[in-house]
Symmetry: D2
């Protein structure tokens, strides 16, 4: 029932505001005797870090992770988990509070300024405080540890739509994802996005995106019906990411337009009594339980509301004002959501591997 915790047996608890001294996470329930290096976690963080291209915020954060507990360090730097809680901390270093002074007095449309004030009666306005996407760095660090629990599972994310531009799935190439600043698997769409997003950025506007995360080699049997279904937990995981407004599994919203004949994934004989599925509209989940097919999740990230164009709003006294956001911002926050979505997938799967093992041995 912890507001800032995610998961059950493999459990993440995070803390920290955008402009406080540090953000951090506690990873609880991690199995013992898993080995990794600090650099592995750092590498995951580096993929998410802003400031790597002109298409993400220029805030400079080295995002150096410190591992405070839960591991034994060998002389060569290898870390071995001990089964106790793993404390992670990332110091905030680029805290230019002056950029955000106007937020203190007025509510940015599309942001959580008003709702935090309404809920808590107090708000850390600097850089969005707790509602800042900066919190997602903790997810990425924890996701790197979650991945250790499921070494055979391959999790990859990609940006499949940006604003009006959608990829052509026939051109999907995972190799391409690392070759452009958008995590886009379609080289031609990526080129189009480059010009498009450059224009968006120059005009001080922003656009949304759709991210797809695919997990391969997921064991069959993960998911705990009825209220711990794998897809329900994935939906919660992805919807908890900043700015996400929709989540789909497999065929997703389009499943509503299909007939039963089209939708049900037929089966043929596979290995060891398991079926070989002829399609994957289910997105790898039936009845809340993984089928052994790739688990496929998509989510929509809304465009950031931090834009140059003045927008109608009110201030904290209730008076009407116009608000525009100057200074650095992300023209498409969806880009950086790709590694975050991968991390959430890893966290959900690691938790369900442990939960399944707990009940079913």
């Amino acid at each position: 029932m912890s507001h800032n915790s995610f998961g059950h047996l493999f459990r993440l608890t995070t803390f920290g505001e955008s402009h406080g001294p540090a953000i951090g996470a506690v990873v609880d329930g991690c199995p013992p005797r898993l080995t990794f290096r600090r650099e592995d976690v750092q590498a995951a963080l580096d993929r998410r870090r802003p400031g790597q291209s002109r298409f993400t915020t220029q805030r400079k954060e080295p995002d150096e992770v410190e591992i405070l507990s839960g591991v034994i360090e060998a002389e060569d730097g290898t870390l071995t988990t001990t089964g106790t809680s793993i404390g992670l901390m990332i110091r905030n270093v680029d805290q230019r509070s002056k950029d955000y002074s106007n937020i203190a007095q007025s509510y940015r449309p599309g942001h959580a300024d008003f709702t935090y004030d309404a809920k808590y009666g107090v708000r850390d306005h600097r850089g969005g405080g707790r509602s800042s996407a900066r919190e997602t760095a903790c997810r990425v660090a924890a996701g790197a540890i979650a991945q250790l629990v499921i070494p055979q599972v391959r999790i990859r994310g990609a940006l499949v739509a940006m604003g009006q531009i959608e990829i052509d799935r026939s051109r999907w190439d995972w190799e391409e994802v690392g070759q452009n600043p958008f995590f886009c698997p379609d080289r031609i769409a990526a080129a189009e996005m480059e010009g498009y997003l450059g224009g968006v950025r120059k005009s001080g506007s922003s656009v949304g995106a759709v991210i797809e995360v695919v997990a391969e080699n997921v064991p069959v049997g993960l998911g705990a019906p009825i209220y711990g279904k794998l897809d329900a937990d994935l939906a919660s995981a992805m919807m908890s990411i900043n700015a996400v407004k929709g989540v789909e599994i497999g065929a997703g919203m389009a499943a509503a337009r299909l007939t039963g004949e089209e939708n049900a994934d037929e089966m043929r004989a596979g290995n060891e009594r398991a079926p070989r599925f002829l399609s994957n509209n289910a997105g790898g989940v039936l009845g809340g339980i993984s089928t052994g097919q790739p688990v496929v999740v998509r989510f929509a990230v809304k465009p950031t509301s931090s834009i140059l164009t003045p927008r109608k709003s009110i201030d904290t006294e209730g008076a009407e004002v116009d608000v525009s956001t100057k200074g650095r911002h992300d023209p498409c926050v969806g880009i950086r959501a790709v590694p975050v979505g991968e991390a959430m997938m890893a966290l959900v799967l690691a938790d369900h591997v442990l939960r399944h093992r707990g009940q079913n041995g």
Copy 2:
């Protein structure tokens, strides 16, 4: 961490299979001194009950709810909650197991037959066992009690698409929802659906649907960032309903195609320092916290895989077979998901009202 529980402070635990002696629920954490009548819960169940039109399964279940605990009954039948756990039970009466004998030996495509077997090594195949939509009756009964916690909140659901037919939102009329067998708010679309679904039914096929649930008069401030966000819990709630493959809040997946200017809901001065929003792309949730606007959730229900057309599958020994479903079935299971979606909305909101009150007084 209970597999069969939903919610935290207001918490539902369910049990029961389609063809066992009974299904039931325990509602825990309900505030004391709320009053209702058994008939109120029964009325909610009656809305969901199958067999009410030719478009839902003809399984005859009176679905009579028995309230076993947690209330004091006055002589006039008024029930007052005592703050202790409320036990609810519904006996199963129409258990024609013979209809389902073939399911025991083979896996129906699109159903959870294979995954339950793979996860548990054993399966109650009769009527889908635990994975049957019958479990949702417990949600509806509990939702009726959850509604007592939030008397000022008005929750209504509607079917907004069936197969290829979408409603025209300019014709939305809540009064219409009760006037057709589809919970459809658009009279003209409903008429079209009637003919369409009749054909689907006769051909032994099935279609999917999109359901929209709207909660009005939701207090501002509900939702517990970061991992108990209102929208994340709604996503989990709706995705946990049988056959749901996608969940959207407000603009949903379409938010990805909007610009920041289009998406952010502008504000003008409202009452008591609260804003009046000029649009509701946020679906009533910003930063995981309710804004006071209507909370709008949509979800897609896939077409049932119980169809007459033979489909390729395997049996429990791994051999290839063809499977078709004879006998009664729902041509559009999405219809009966409307009251279930309403119930899940009530459960989420009731839980968050208590959680918010707990932390914030």
Copy 3:
């Protein structure tokens, strides 16, 4: 965070008042493919059932358990768990509400009448309502299922003190426990108790008791430090039983009077690198983790406050009154706490077996 749930992976949720239609339980997270018979659960309930000697309340409750879900029944009555939630229900049949009419208006000293009213503003006074020891029948039924998860573990309870009478541990004989109405392992003390408690009963008084529960063959490694320590969960489990005021592990409160030399259990070489302990002051738990030695828990049950002697109290209006309890009552409620303590031990151990397996494989 469920008020009426106990455990995490193996989880019990109960409902029901003393004088409502029924009490019941949902057992969630039970591993699949365990086999038992309804009679096994019934036998556990029968051990706890009142009315079996003149030393327990004469309330006649057959306490027939109905198993509503979570199992598949074979033709010979064998039940196999399916991994889904197991619903259990026991109808209340002996509801002589007239016996309790005076409780509605005044607060019995030592009972929860005042606190329930103060907390909830409403109270089901009949037979103590939810605070009645009747709820413990659900624990016993669930404990019988928990025992299936840990078949190698032998759990036995005994009454080791009644009022001023303590057993002589040198005479401890487990066989004796089933030979007297007190679950007392010391034949000579049992004989003494018989005369003593007869006098207590005739005078309308009551006495307390100390119960000891021992679990043998507990696997080493159970318990989840820091806040899910095995002993902490046992303490919570036993303290949650009605009328319990103290819980001890191993040497218990007496550990305070020992020196480090006396207290620490020395070790000699045992099998497979595991130690053979030379004593068991630890009660089988070190650092919150089981050692492989017998887990030993003791708890004190206060005397029931339902006595003939008038006691000073107030009524619901705050006026001073005298209260005495007429009619049937238990002169020593601790007796019936023995099977309840055994059940709680089983529930804690089963949960920790699954938790340990989840994290550690």
Copy 4:
């Protein structure tokens, strides 16, 4: 279900080993707009800190707490909680690992060395790793924040027995508690303890202790029956403290020896329909719910097993060895458990205030 979390609405998660870089805590669910200063938390830590007299370990730890999140700092240093998770960190500075080198290869009797190895297959042996009492510093820091939630409640702890020496309750003087190095409320007993413990220390032995924690002005109505009873949560809280082997509420284990006449606390008319109790055998809890009387908890702390006298044990290979502990150690670890017990009381009460408010408004 988090192994390293305590509480539900007000929730503590801790991390850190004795000899790692840092220990820390996340306090989640804290109500917003509470004000305090870093010095308040530091003062609580200073009460617990070792090295303050010759009767506690000479390990030098400044135990400086850093507050990383969840608060807004005013220019004068006043911190205001924002309702988001509060990150706390304490760097470890006195890590003389060489003192503990022998622990790596053998199991100290009475310590968790063997059980951690058996459970996890790996162990941070330095200073006891995660099982070190050092973790309790996190509890004390979090307890200081919990106290902010219940400003009207006064929580005080005292050492009431050390080894064979018990206090005379007729001499109880809370003022005395701060005047001796034992938190002892009986001046004469404290003097006796000084000589006694000096001898124990010199001989390299150790003794146990009994701690009593009293909370006054606790609101009536706290506690969530059946499985979130206030006394059950207190029992779990205290039993989770290192080396605790028994927990008592009110009359505690002695309740078993009382008659119903002696035990039940009689009531006379008090203020506003609430009773004035004539005694407090209940320890302020009836039916798991607070009565408004002082909540009284006692717990026994075993003597530390770190003693000079060689004790029989085995090494990690299973071979028989003798173990003795050289260097600094606490002759009576119970002394430092006093502020820890106070902190756990605060954590339990703060959680239950929020839980009660959540359900009951």
